[in-house]
């Protein structure tokens, strides 16, 4: 085989050669929607009462003790309305609220009512009512129910998280330095995988994603590669020390990579990435500290998403959610334990924002769920259904039967999307 460029190899294999194994797995030509949807999953249970403190609730300050955020002063929380504010690290989100591009959700929960992270994430991702009840995810089922089934998704990470697994083609992408792999070797491996459905599909997806990323992201990639080279060299362990600080920077890189896919006219319409480190059992901090650093990183990543999307931001909705909330009261180690009702964010140019959507149960002891957690008053699936229906155009019948089975009681929330 004569040497061809990576791009050339792809095209050759798409249209003619290389045993025809590589089909266009991420073909988006007839995408039925021009809208973009991004799901950001915060693994570990974000403390909703720190991210969106109910500073106007009479019980807030006493419950939160040392980690309570102040209503006024230099480190004050950023006000939203009479009851709620945003953590002072969330400056971009606060300006988005003012620009009516952010709807803040509070006291929300998936149907899951226990307190295991892993089962909680499983339910949030599978879109059902019990852990491990389904092996596919709600986002994938939503994509595959769109007319022509030609929309697709991309997961930013080495592997595809449960929410994105299922019948629709979803690629995963994260930076790889494969400059050394020559096209002849790749073509031979493609042949070698011909009889292996999983590996041949994965390799085709990988090469295609890689080509898209190379195309749209050359500059950003160089940056990420340089970081990776630096990270995986002598600094492999030093990085631990900077991990928290760097986590924020990595979220930003991930967000920018997502944009490389979403911006393309013929690219995927749905992207997902997840972040971890939200499980703040001890020394959570208030306006400053462990959680503040993470929130700042998240805020910066979301800002980068908007900035890089440019005009596409108008067509974009970002849902930021977590598996469950944390205890209303601070615990004995200046942190919070696993809880129930949580906060979430709906962000983007297409969001009818500038409001807090919360049927607030209050923080009085009698109002708390099981005497300890924020009582959930809204099913997250209602929000997801509203977004999928009004933004991506998923049909109500598909939402009920396929995407969120057993969700009749959680009716789609109206008016989340700007008309």
């Amino acid at each position: 085989m004569k040497p061809v460029s990576r791009r050339g190899f792809l095209e050759a294999s798409l249209f003619a050669g290389a045993s025809g194994v590589i089909a266009s797995r991420l073909a988006f030509a007839n995408a039925p929607t021009d809208s973009r949807f991004v799901f950001v999953l915060l693994r570990g249970a974000l403390d909703g009462l720190s991210a969106v403190p109910a500073v106007g609730d009479p019980d807030y300050a006493a419950l939160r003790g040392q980690i309570a955020l102040a209503k006024s002063g230099s480190d004050a929380a950023l006000p939203l309305d009479g009851t709620f504010a945003l953590h002072p690290a969330l400056t971009f989100l606060h300006s988005s609220y003012a620009a009516k591009e952010l709807a803040v959700l509070h006291a929300v929960a998936s149907p899951y009512r226990e307190r295991s992270h892993f089962d909680g994430q499983n339910v949030l991702e599978n879109g059902g009512v019990v852990p491990h009840g389904m092996a596919t995810g709600w986002i994938n089922r939503a994509i595959s129910s769109l007319p022509a089934a030609s929309a697709s998704g991309v997961a930013l990470g080495a592997n595809v998280p449960l929410a994105m697994r299922g019948p629709a083609e979803v690629a995963s992408w994260s930076p790889t330095r494969i400059a050394a792999l020559d096209d002849d070797t790749l073509a031979r491996i493609t042949d070698l995988y011909a009889a292996d459905p999983l590996l041949s599909r994965r390799l085709a997806e990988a090469l295609e994603s890689d080509a898209i990323a190379n195309d749209a992201q050359a500059a950003a990639n160089a940056e990420v590669d340089a970081d990776m080279a630096e990270d995986s060299g002598a600094n492999v362990v030093e990085r631990d020390a900077n991990q928290r600080r760097n986590a924020g920077r990595r979220y930003t890189e991930t967000a920018r990579a997502a944009v490389g896919f979403l911006k393309r006219e013929d690219g995927p319409r749905v992207a997902m990435f997840d972040t971890s480190g939200w499980d703040t059992h001890a020394n959570e901090g208030g306006a400053q500290g462990q959680l503040a650093v993470r929130l700042r990183g998240l805020d910066a990543a979301l800002a980068a998403l908007k900035e890089s999307l440019g005009p596409t931001w108008r067509k974009t909705v970002v849902l930021v959610a977590t598996e469950f909330g944390r205890t209303a009261a601070i615990n004995g180690t200046r942190g919070t334990d696993h809880g129930t009702g949580a906060a979430a964010f709906l962000l983007g140019g297409a969001v009818a924002g500038g409001r807090v959507l919360a049927d607030w149960p209050g923080l009085a002891r009698a109002a708390l769920y099981e005497g300890r957690d924020v009582r959930p008053t809204r099913d997250l699936r209602s929000v997801m259904k509203g977004v999928l229906r009004d933004h991506l155009g998923v049909s109500p019948s598909a939402l009920e039967s396929k995407v969120f089975p057993e969700s009749a009681a959680a009716r789609a929330t109206d008016g989340l999307i700007r008309s």
């Binding site: 590996l199 059992h281 004995g332």
Partner: protein
């Protein structure tokens, strides 16, 4: 058994039960694959050698000593203060002490995994380290996560589960990882002493339920094991006071006239302990100090839910992503009948016919992939820092699963398209380095045995260079799986 069957069984023994065949290993296993495995779990587990491996207490003591002056200064400055501060604050300065220790530890276990002739035992050890996961993204355990494996896990992997469980839950790394060392019972002596101060500072003295919850959910009963939130809270109270010795923490309570244990070792800090009898899962436990929590742990270890939970995980790890029911039954039965004699459980695993039916049933994790590559090609280990690069590049850093649930264990968790491409790229880089020193054509049947497919053999034979042949072998579908 025919020769081919035997050879498939040998490949399963070396590649799925073990860590990947080294040249010559299949021939050893082929004589009697089951007894080749059974022999590996007999006799005491090997002690990990290596430069600079020290006991947890010494590592923690050094960390504490380094911090003493600073902590002292702070304490003087701020009369009174906060008893839970010391270790957490020390954690900020710990990386300098911990980083080289971490490197020594993971290098030692990597070298052992590559060289051991008891690879089944080593896979079992890794299984338990992942079952009782602590993750070094929490700096407090960066220097002692490896020591926990050496001290609490390795010596106990073939003995009784109760002993293993007890050793792990009392290890400082686990106590620190899941925040138990400063969990204080609301009616404990420490809580009463701190009550006035707590009121004025808005600070609350109470238990932290993290460790108790994860013991129930992850380490013993499993999430469907029938416990309630009340059981979690009660259990957390029962193990309040399970802490780490050192005057750093104890001084504050000097006026209570109590000692503060040996620095860096498990210490039952009675002043933190929530007094009183406790009722958990329908059984009462008397007000018996440290023995109360031990009695609960001992009972948890013997519950049938625990046997089933861990048997399921073992079957998933050693047999298939969707573990066959018969295997889970067989393991659970062996567990209950032997009261958690782990060697007996592993024997039941070896005796499970389902384990020998499907070769290549598991997709390798990155760690599996790297270990098996090093073993197959006898790749010389580079110096410590560089030796660990592949784990980061392929997405599974040593002792850093990121959560107490440990690394996931099914194909879908690891077979992402980007993950596959990284693996191929790494294989190619290894082939560039090793391709002219090893003959892929000869190596392929030696390490894959009867699982080597015709198409892979052909791809290797037709490669344009020794390097490319090696890439084909390492990228082959059968080498991606175990």
């Amino acid at each position: 058994m025919t020769a081919t069957q035997n050879s498939i069984a040998a490949a399963i023994a070396a590649n799925r039960f073990g860590l990947g065949a080294r040249p010559g290993e299949l021939a050893l296993a082929a004589k009697d694959p089951e007894s080749w495995l059974a022999k590996q779990i007999k006799g005491s587990p090997p002690v990990l050698g290596g430069d600079g491996l020290r006991p947890t207490s010494e590592i923690l003591k050094q960390a504490l000593e380094l911090r003493r002056d600073l902590v002292e200064a702070r304490r003087e400055k701020k009369e009174g203060g906060d008893p839970t501060k010391s270790l957490a604050a020390a954690a900020l300065k710990l990386p300098a002490v911990y980083r080289p220790v971490y490197l020594d530890e993971v290098y030692a276990r990597f070298s052992h995994a590559v060289a051991t002739d008891r690879p089944f035992l080593e896979r079992i050890t890794q299984f338990w380290t992942n079952h009782f996961a602590v993750s070094i993204d929490k700096i407090a355990v960066l220097g002692i996560a490896g020591a926990m494996e050496r001290e609490a896990i390795r010596p106990n992997v073939t003995g009784s589960f109760t002993r293993l469980l007890m050793a792990v839950e009392k290890h400082p790394a686990m106590l620190l990882y899941l925040d138990n060392q400063t969990s204080i019972g609301p009616n404990s002596r420490a809580a009463r002493l701190l009550a006035r101060r707590a009121r004025s500072s808005g600070r609350k003295v109470d238990i932290n339920e993290n460790l108790a919850r994860e013991i129930l959910e992850l380490h013993t009963l499993g999430v469907d094991g029938g416990y309630t939130q009340a059981d979690v809270t009660t259990f957390a109270q029962a193990i309040s006071g399970w802490s780490i010795g050192g005057e750093d923490q104890g001084r504050r309570f000097a006026r209570l006239g109590l000692d503060s244990g040996k620095a860096g070792e498990f210490f039952f800090r009675e002043v933190f302990h929530e007094p009183g009898a406790k009722r958990l899962l329908g059984k009462s436990y008397g007000d018996d100090g440290v023995k109360q929590g031990e009695a609960i742990l001992g009972d948890l270890a013997q519950r049938p839910e625990t046997a089933r939970h861990i048997s399921t995980k073992l079957a998933r790890h050693f047999i298939a992503d969707a573990p066959p029911k018969e295997s889970v039954e067989r393991l659970t039965h062996a567990w209950l009948e032997s009261r958690g004699n782990l060697a007996r459980v592993y024997e039941a695993l070896i005796e499970s016919p389902e384990a020998w039916r499907e070769p290549l049933a598991k997709f390798k994790t990155p760690v599996d992939y790297i270990h098996s590559s090093y073993r197959a090609l006898a790749i010389p280990l580079r110096e410590k820092r560089r030796a660990l690069q592949p784990f980061e590049a392929l997405g599974q850093r040593n002792l850093m699963p990121g959560s107490p649930a440990g690394w996931p264990d099914t194909s879908a968790d690891w077979d992402g398209s980007s993950a596959l491409l990284k693996r191929i790229a790494w294989a190619d880089a290894v082939a560039q380095r090793m391709g002219d020193q090893r003959n892929a054509r000869e190596l392929a049947p030696e390490i894959l045995g009867a699982t080597l497919s015709e198409s892979t053999a052909k791809a290797i034979a037709r490669a344009e260079s020794g390097t490319q042949a090696m890439t084909m072998l390492m990228a082959s579908p059968e080498f991606m799986r175990r």
